[in-house]
């Protein structure tokens, strides 16, 4: 699909549509939708902003490319004065006191926020069922899960309720729902986009990223949100990616991980489709290397060990003292405990407890520090791979989306379903899901800070397979 942003921009400029009508249409679609993709609508704000864009156009003033473009925000971002619930009971009535840097940059460019989107609570999940707002339904088959944790964002884009949405990806939370709903979803290099104003899950892999229906829209939104931010000291400076720079592919060699494809866990059709894609690329003159990689259980266990340790620390601030649904008890310690016990979901509690297990004395050497060492090895492995290949291509998931209700019954199966996404998070690598190649898409990964090459190869793939 071509750029929706450019198409709508043209329609606004040529006065084929008004921004108010566009925003109202999308708000109506969001309001009536039965996919549980909405936590709260930002209708008053959106219509106010739309009226300003219309006034500007009426006066003959020039508008920017993103001006008047409606978008969605996963409900883990701060947008001043609006609810930021993290789909949790604890923050059900919490209002953002300030605005996240990435979101502010989009507002400054004139984009119009329509909706705070349903997701797994605090990003804890791979199905968007761990939420107080009801399980998000898959855009293609509503009996299946939308994927997660950015499930509401993926569905809103897939159904065209939003032109693009901003998700968060810690271990696959943008890429996997993008794959399940047949759209593009990009996790940039860690640090390319500021995390300020994103509720922290696992700070060392948390990434802000866009979901959209075209590569061009991903590029436009990525450029606007990128950049070093004094409010996030892990953010890095980056150069803008031009349309020309990604128009022609310079990729000569790609690799894929043998053990991902030879695994017993992979669905037969996904495996066959992936291998067909590889053959098509070979036929186009691309050299393909079958690479050795860590076993899936090591990747998943390393990721969850570190992510749980970090989320146990990050979520320790949520005790009902200054904000949140405090439940009073006989003393302060009991107040903390009752507030957290009653307001966190089972999955969130499981992860907090797991994190405190690995951080506690006697276990940290055996598990947590070993997890850190494994992560370093995984990153070193990637560095060596990218001396040999330009791009790594992988399926997004080993299986097709499960039925709603199945993931909550078997947490271990849910964790293992992240096998193909978590490694790239640990490596902090730029990875894009494209809705091609297998029924849940393909992941394109490049070396750290080479986000441009990922988009370039995606364009090549779009025209090739």
């Amino acid at each position: 699909m071509d750029s929706q942003i450019k198409k709508i921009h043209q329609q606004l400029v040529s006065k084929q549509i008004t921004c108010t009508a566009l925003v109202q249409e999308k708000l109506d679609l969001l309001k009536q939708n039965t996919y549980n993709s909405v936590n709260s609508l930002l209708d008053t704000l959106a219509l106010e902003l739309a009226a300003k864009v219309d006034a500007k156009i009426a006066k003959g003033e020039t508008i920017g490319l993103l001006e008047g473009i409606p978008f969605g925000i996963k409900d883990v971002y701060m947008l001043q004065g609006t609810y930021a619930t993290a789909s949790s009971e604890l923050l059900k009535k919490y209002k953002s006191p300030y605005t996240a840097t990435a979101i502010q940059k989009l507002l400054d460019a004139g984009a119009i926020p329509l909706v705070k989107e349903n997701c797994d609570s605090f990003g804890h999940g791979s199905s968007s069922e761990n939420t107080i707002f009801g399980a998000v339904k898959n855009a293609i088959d509503p009996t299946l899960v939308a994927g997660g944790s950015s499930g509401g964002s993926a569905v809103n884009v897939a159904k065209e309720y939003t032109v693009f949405s901003i998700g968060g990806d810690t271990g696959g939370s943008i890429r996997q729902p993008a794959g399940y709903n047949h759209i593009y979803g990009f996790k940039p290099t860690y640090g390319r986009i500021s995390r300020f104003g994103l509720m922290a899950y696992a700070s060392s892999t948390d990434c802000v990223g866009p979901l959209a229906k075209s590569i061009e829209d991903i590029r436009i939104v990525l450029n606007v949100m990128s950049g070093k931010d004094p409010k996030d000291q892990t953010s890095v400076a980056s150069t803008e990616i031009s349309e020309d720079a990604i128009a022609t592919s310079a990729v000569k060699t790609i690799g894929y991980f043998k053990n991902f494809i030879e695994s017993d866990a992979i669905d037969n059709q996904i495996k066959a489709d992936f291998l067909t894609t590889i053959e098509k690329l070979k036929a186009k003159g691309i050299a393909v290397a079958a690479l050795d990689f860590f076993k899936s259980d090591i990747l998943v266990s390393t990721y969850y060990t570190l992510a749980m340790a970090e989320t146990a620390s990050n979520l320790s601030r949520l005790d009902g003292t200054n904000y949140g649904n405090r439940i009073e008890a006989e003393n302060l310690i009991e107040t903390y405990a009752v507030t957290r016990s009653e307001n966190f979901s089972e999955e969130t509690k499981r992860r907090i407890v797991g994190g405190n297990q690995v951080l506690s004395q006697g276990f940290s050497d055996e598990i947590y520090l070993k997890g850190l060492a494994l992560r370093d090895q995984i990153s070193e492995n990637f560095s060596k791979d990218f001396e040999e290949v330009d791009i790594i291509l992988s399926p997004v998931t080993p299986s097709t989306p499960p039925k709603i209700g199945d993931s909550l019954k078997d947490p271990l199966a849910m964790y293992l379903s992240d096998a193909y996404t978590v490694g790239f998070s640990l490596g902090q690598l730029p990875t894009l899901t494209v809705p091609q190649g297998t029924s849940t898409g393909l992941q394109i990964t490049a070396a750290k800070n080479n986000d441009e090459l990922v988009l370039q190869f995606a364009n090549f793939l779009k025209d090739t397979i």
Binding site: T302, Q357, K370, P411, L412
Partner: protein
């Protein structure tokens, strides 16, 4: 002091128990043999150099931000923000 802290106390979650599913993940790590046991040998250098720290400046919150912080406070009475009971009887 040699007081054992159980995970329910550490997590401030009543009756919390380690999960069997999560323990299975940890067992994989326990049995793994990293070739590099030096966690300080980090290839992802995210730490900030002391020369690159931002200025330590005080930024006054906007009126709206202050108002929202007050609005988010869980308990209010007669115009005062009420904290949780801190004195144990």
């Amino acid at each position: 002091m040699n007081k054992t802290m159980t995970v329910d106390i550490l997590s401030s979650i009543k009756g919390a128990q380690p999960s069997e599913s999560v323990n299975q993940l940890f067992d994989v790590i326990k049995n793994a043999i990293p070739t590099n046991n030096n966690a300080a040998n980090n290839v992802n250098h995210n730490c900030v150099s002391v020369n690159d720290l931002r200025e330590d400046v005080v930024i006054e919150s906007s009126v709206m931000e202050k108002q929202l912080i007050i609005e988010n406070f869980p308990n209010k009475k007669n115009g005062f923000l009420v904290v949780a009971k801190v004195i144990e009887g």
